[in-house]
Point group: C2
Chain length 224, copies 2
Amino acid sequence: MTPSEAGTTPRERYRAQVRAEIKDRAWEQIATAGASALSLNAIAKQMGMSGPALYRYFGGRDELITELVRDAYRSLADAVRAAAAKDGPDVRVLAHALRDWALEDPQRYFLIYGTPVPGYHAPDDITAIASEIMAHLLDACAEVGGDAPEGPFDTHLAEHRDWADGHPAPPAALHRALTFWTRLHGVLSLELAGHFTGMRFDPALLFTAELDDLTGRPPAQGLC
Amino acid sequence: MTPSEAGTTPRERYRAQVRAEIKDRAWEQIATAGASALSLNAIAKQMGMSGPALYRYFGGRDELITELVRDAYRSLADAVRAAAAKDGPDVRVLAHALRDWALEDPQRYFLIYGTPVPGYHAPDDITAIASEIMAHLLDACAEVGGDAPEGPFDTHLAEHRDWADGHPAPPAALHRALTFWTRLHGVLSLELAGHFTGMRFDPALLFTAELDDLTGRPPAQGLC
DNA sequence: TAACTTGAGTGATAACCTCTAACCATGACC
DNA sequence: GGTCATGGTTAGAGGTTATCACTCAAGTTA
């Protein structure tokens, strides 16, 4: 009875609602058993309907997973955008936004940055969202101007900056964005994968140590 | 007719040979289609025998995969040990040994460092091999003595060094080993997962740039 | 040499999975 | 009221892991 969004027929609303519920159940399954254990049959059974009914809503398992990947990217882009809007385009707030988002649902993180399935290639709209995230990161990295060491990779980046998509950041900022990405992903993915559980140290401290290094504190002008 | 190893009955030799062939086929499948697409049935069909015969050699799919993970760890440990024995326990030769080994079979790398399956816990002998790899890394990181910035994470590591397993490296070396691991894994895993293919830059240059940073060249006393 | 024991491989079977095909009921629209 | 798209069903093809009972050959022992 709630009119909610005008211009949508009740059929469309019902359809959207069922699609959303399917995706919710899929997320539950992924969070508990991983993406490879996702079962359309189990989802249908959970929802009280049997098997092939789901094919009215998704072309198949692959299409559902692609949709989930898209939602994951969108969710990450939202988190990054919100953090940048709230606390400014700072590299530290972006890093903590990323870490919080990753810890919130590790399997969702791995759905984006985990082991790739060899044949798969992401559709264009997904790479578009990814480049929006990268744009926010470039904004933050362009903020911190500072010294540009200008290594060989920076000169290489000066000629291979298509991925920056016209962003006016200097090559050193591009380099900084890439190392930001790879380093935080390195510690985050190993932590989420449980490779640190045996060792007893606190992964959060390693993360902030890497972040401190990234923002230029300890390695160059640290308190040594 | 070849006597090969004395003390082994022909039955045992045959069994070992079939087990090896099963694992070879499994590696082929994993390399081309990923670990999730591994099919015992397909392997059996390829070997000319039908289905349940493989259960004489492996308890099941999980046990076979665990064996492959073990072999992957052993292969990486061999590569690292060989590199350290040949060119000394240097951090750069270890890094390149790791990268070469990873590029040789990306899916093998992901079998170790990729998306984890939530319930799974590695058996003890596997973690033992992992800690042997870590020992080689600690040797290399203890070599480069140098300045110890002594950040908060280093003081934390001074009290949480059980994972070093009695290695006499100072906390700064432990820290260096961890960042070595996480940073190289960060750039390597993103490269192998294909996240750099859209952007045109050369991942090898990013890798060596990270390595240069790790060994202390550009960030502190670079050519800036 | 003959009998026995062990182990490899088989087909049948159960329980899952994805996905297609055919069919039926219900609600919207003319 | 008739037409028709839409969502649901069951049946079935073809795939998977995994277990079971069984056969048969090889190795071992008396």
